[in-house]
Subunit: 429 residues, 2 copies
Amino acid sequence: MNAVILSIGDELVLGQSVDTNSAFLSGRLAELGLMTLYHQTVADDRAAITAAVQQACAAAEVVIISGGLGPTQDDLTRQAVADAMSVQLVLDEAALKTIAAFFTRRGRTMSDSNRVQAMHPVGTTMLANSAGTAPGIKGQLNRATFYVVPGVPREMQVMFQEHILPDLTRGACIGAAILTAKVNTFGLGESSVGELLGDLMRRDRNPVVGTTVAGGVVSVRLRCAMADPDRASKALEATRAEVERHLGAYVFGRQETDLPQATVDLLRQRRITLATAESCTGGLIGKFITDVPGSSNVFLGGWTAYSNHMKVQQLGVPSDLIEVHGAVSGPVARAMAAGAISRSGAGLGVSITGIAGPEGGSPEKPVGTIWVGLAAGGEPVDTARAVRLNLAGLDRQLLRDRAAKTVLQLIRFHLLNVPFDRIQWVVKD
Amino acid sequence: MNAVILSIGDELVLGQSVDTNSAFLSGRLAELGLMTLYHQTVADDRAAITAAVQQACAAAEVVIISGGLGPTQDDLTRQAVADAMSVQLVLDEAALKTIAAFFTRRGRTMSDSNRVQAMHPVGTTMLANSAGTAPGIKGQLNRATFYVVPGVPREMQVMFQEHILPDLTRGACIGAAILTAKVNTFGLGESSVGELLGDLMRRDRNPVVGTTVAGGVVSVRLRCAMADPDRASKALEATRAEVERHLGAYVFGRQETDLPQATVDLLRQRRITLATAESCTGGLIGKFITDVPGSSNVFLGGWTAYSNHMKVQQLGVPSDLIEVHGAVSGPVARAMAAGAISRSGAGLGVSITGIAGPEGGSPEKPVGTIWVGLAAGGEPVDTARAVRLNLAGLDRQLLRDRAAKTVLQLIRFHLLNVPFDRIQWVVKD
């Protein structure tokens, strides 16, 4: 079984945006054992899209087309697919109702131009879109089953998950059972994870083990292909256990579990509440924590003490500490964490203060110098801990992202009694 | 003159890497007036590359192929191009010497496998590579001039600069100048933007105008193709002015300007400092603001008052307000904004409190009910304003993202004296 991925949009062909959908889709198809023959990016041109769809549907059994399903005149995928099939577009009343309901729910009226989003080529079926207005389309052309989904990456991903994935795994298309698993770690670079895994990463092994990095999280991906599903499942389990044993506390979760979720889960399990005092991350730690539904059980809130005045006034950091050590220092990080606890009543207080750049660095404290503080409720203020991170070489966005994630992993290490300097970018004193 | 871009590599087709070369190349070609017809990503498969090269060279006058010029067995572009031309590969002695010298300079010895990098199809010329070992190739097939360059982005870019760009600008090949522009808006759905633009979006217009959405931001993209660059530039300017006139205050910036940047710029211009009081967004507004380098000039900091206790204790929200109206209400939003000002000394205080879901909704206050407060420094507390947003139907992440961006646009509307209910999801009372 082969696949072709088409991405539609002038902005892609003109180089104004980078096409990330194709990599996402073919990556997921590869996990299922489907080989992608090629990706093609096509302009918002009806004839060009028609030709590309025909060629793809002659070359592969599965064709996924993203983009060009919007409500405006430059969205032509729907019409082009109909042209490729030599059929007309027809209105789907149910889809129209769903789209109208989407607008009603938000107290808006649907504009006429949205009507076209309820149309699809005769002989195709519509795929509900739980993440936006434009439904997708599924149909048959030559030897291929094709799927048309919106180009907005999030909507495309949701549609893949809800429609295409179940279709492909249900289908009789795949000869062997292909099972996959994922183990997520934070605190080491990819090559260090590879070294800890050693022979587990040999390419001739089954299950095969590989690593990928996204946003500083190194995920270990396992893929097992065996004729017998039971044997495959047992082999996968055994390898996963071995991977997790090698990687220890760096592992924060399996499959799609992210670091905020894992942190909130552990806090909830221990019945410990949290408060944050952020400087250089500007609220990002709180944002990560509150990404998790129900985090209000463990997260009381926090301070974004961007100015020194806020640090002194709102968190009770002694101003002479700032004068003597500077705002980016261990003593100030400790005082911020202690202040967050004493003023919120939380069981655990974390703080962060650092130089995110591009300006503000100095020879003693270059860009990338970050201090993290941790204080436990009920303990004397002077037991608060502080560690220094070295995240030099990352740009502002990346640095803040890694710093905030490091704080989450440090919360976990604190609760699990793991030494902080296991994290590769924590500076050992 | 049209172009086609081919990217070669299993890692691209399998989704392990995102192809950024195509966007770079077609962006640069567009600046030169060359329209890219399509991008195609092809696996490390000799026959597949051969077919793709033949198709591309039949479709366009300029074909750029990147990747597959390395020294290992999976680098097959060189051979495939020879196949497409029905010729043999031949060794270029001068190129071999250059490659050997490259290794000598770095104190390494050249391995035998590097010899293949000095080979090229009969009838083509080699292009020196100043950034790596693999020379590029330039040749002619059907109507096309084709260029083969390494896939490593830096080498590809250097080769483009040193060989392809001078060729194309020198050549008589370019018939028209193609200029592009982007205008970014927030506060309307894509279809409403399309309606405001009306006939500007007709597909037969030049400059042609299209819309794309990313993260709730609707961008209007303009593209102008004309023989005379001066006329093209004037036509683009005129259309951009018309687009901006139609979209008024919804426009926050051009090209790559994002909403946080535009908000910080406006605050800085007015010399007004900001403080935030966030509940449901958990710090996301502060995160957005502090994404902007140098935002410390205008951002003092804020509170993430996730619990009611934090709202009362830290922001001075009267607890009876919460009891009577609930934490998600206009009066509480106003009190939070006023508290943020009085406790930080900022010139402008914004607050947000809402139900982000998936739990916590009620018939009176369903998930998606959000209150935003704005208070100006120096004014009496009871002049603080509050507006309600209806963001029902979005999931937790999306809802928080849209809510935080709406607060940024409301800050701009406040400073620009634009009525808040121009934003489509602000509830009109």
